[in-house]
Amino acid sequence: GTSAAPASAGAEPVSVVLGWYPTAESGGFYAAEEQGLFAQQGLDVDIQPGGPQVSQTQVVASGRADFGLSDATTVANAKATGIPIVAVAALFQENPVGVMVHADSGAQDWKDLAGRTWYVQTGQLGQEWVKRSQGIDFTTAAYNGSIATFVHDDAAVQQGWPTNEAYTAQKEGVQTRFLSYASAGYNPYNDVIFTTEDFLRDNPEKVRSFLDATMRGWSAYMSDTALAEKVNATLQQENPQLDAAANWFAWDAQRQFLTAGDGATALGAMTPARWSTLVDQMTQLGALEPGLDPASLFDTSALPTVPAPTTLPPAP
């Protein structure tokens, strides 16, 4: 990719596969699109929604999309099984994922969640880490996307995002207490943008342009409520089942995770230390064979420095 000309017939096609249907979680991409940032970089970006069981790593590795969004463990897993992908940016500096319990269930701390049934996504490591690090035991059951069981069962422990599941529970009249896995020391990057090693090697400029536009899009999406309104309307259009209020809630709540830590100075930042920690933790949990080089998992060479916005206005 070379051209830096404004949007024209010569724009280079680039595609990104999202982690989920279009929501606030993917708002930055739509904001970049909305503001014409991609076009300015000479990119014609095709945003493909994900879905409950869409495997972004496979889609990207096979060339069906250029970029994908996933969590850091998935990138590590992929690398370990020989899939030549590499993380180029990490949107969620602090991992929002954790578990929630009914506020009136008497549970204050991880220890109190022992022996209960945890509704968690199969294959995720957060719960394993808690088990190990807190020395507690519990049974897990598949989380199928609906928290109805949790709403019904006062003792249940429900995996979720404070931006989504917590909101839904609240809407159903359930006051919850949220315990993030990060608070237990398990804090891999989330919503990591990755591409293939080949793509990065062959198109460093294109990656840089894409990330540049994306990060500026995110910055604007978080700080410019007028823009956010427009973007959210677009999201609503792309994802008609999206609840507007829920989406605004998520828009607001997710910003602290995007701008936490290194994100304050550079959106999407990644450090060797964090990746090393992750590899260590995964190895301890038996999810990785020892010997994976953390440095091979990510590459910040194409990541421009776009600082987080200084003010985060409230939702309109």
Binding site: G51, G145, A148, Q241
Partner: protein, 294 residues
């Protein structure tokens, strides 16, 4: 009582001139009258009313929470606001499901033919048809997505994968149940295997085939929805699978139920078409579709 008493039978003279010479009347059977139509529409309606009443009663009695099962009235009330967002997904799923159904029908027939034609093919392939049926879509979805891209094409294929086995299994049983003497008659007359298939075995197997298609009618719809779960909606418009995931996640139960009802309608429509073909094709000659008196 003597027998002689009742002897004088209707003398031939009383009967009209012999119609034996004239061709027999054929198929002046009446179209279903209002009455019969009613007898087809009424029972499911009655069941519907009872089911809905029970549903409401259970919810009221046991206090089933709305986030688990919405009340019928809530679902009804949701129609207005939701209809706009449901039409298009329903059409998308319909397209995928019907496409998958057709694909399953064609492939299912073809495989069954091959297996009926060559015994060795049956023995060799049947286990793999079973196997195909058992493969969780999640295991093959990535492959399909890579080949066909996410979205409708892949979902159509997934629908076909799920619907194909019932067609094959039933068609095969039907083809193999064909009256042996007729088969031998065809062979003796020098019929090609193809002719035998198309003129003899397929019509003979029709009742079986149509039962397979009935099953496939439902399977293909569920297949299209499952496809959307695992293969995503791609660049296209999301179908009912998307609506279901999305509403389940947000606990929008009335809307979720509406989506499920929409899916059911999609399959009932297909099912109705299969039924129609069944009635038209079989009622004149097959027990299962004939009226009772003749």
């Amino acid at each position: 009582m003597s027998i002689a008493e009742k002897t004088p039978a209707t003398p031939p003279a009383q009967t009209p001139a012999t119609p034996q010479a004239a061709a027999r009347p054929t198929v002046p059977r009446k179209a279903p009258s209002g009455r019969t139509l009613l007898s087809f529409v009424l029972p499911p309606l009655v069941v519907l009313v009872i089911a809905v009443a029970l549903w409401q009663a259970l919810i009221s009695l046991f206090g089933v929470p709305k986030f688990l099962v919405p009340a019928p009235l809530d679902v009804l009330a949701e129609i207005g606001p939701a209809i706009g967002t449901l039409v298009e997904p329903t059409l998308v799923t319909m397209g995928e499901a019907y496409g998958g159904f057709l694909l399953a029908a064609v492939v299912g027939f073809a495989v069954a033919f091959v297996m009926a034609r060559w015994n060795v093919a049956e023995r060799g392939l049947y286990p793999y048809m079973v196997l195909l049926q058992t493969i969780p879509i999640i295991a093959v979805a990535p492959i399909l997505v890579v080949w066909l891209g996410p979205g409708p094409t892949t979902n159509t294929v997934v629908a076909a994968m799920i619907a194909v086995f019932p067609v094959t299994a039933n068609t095969l049983t039907g083809l193999k149940s064909t009256d042996r003497n007729l088969v031998q008659l065809f062979a003796m007359a020098g019929a090609s295997k193809r002719y035998e298939m198309s003129v003899l075995r397929i019509p003979y197997a029709l009742p079986y085939v149509l039962t397979g298609l009935r099953i496939a009618a439902g399977s293909s719809v569920i297949g299209a929805i499952v496809g959307e779960f695992v293969a995503g909606i791609g660049g296209g418009q999301g179908g009912l699978g998307y609506v279901i995931t999305s509403t389940a996640q947000q606990l929008l139960m009335p809307r979720l139920f509406l989506a499920v009802i929409a899916a059911s309608c999609v399959s009932l429509l297909l099912f109705g078409l299969v039924r129609l073909v069944e009635v038209l094709a079989l009622r004149r000659w097959h027990e299962s579709a004939m009226s009772s008196d003749d």
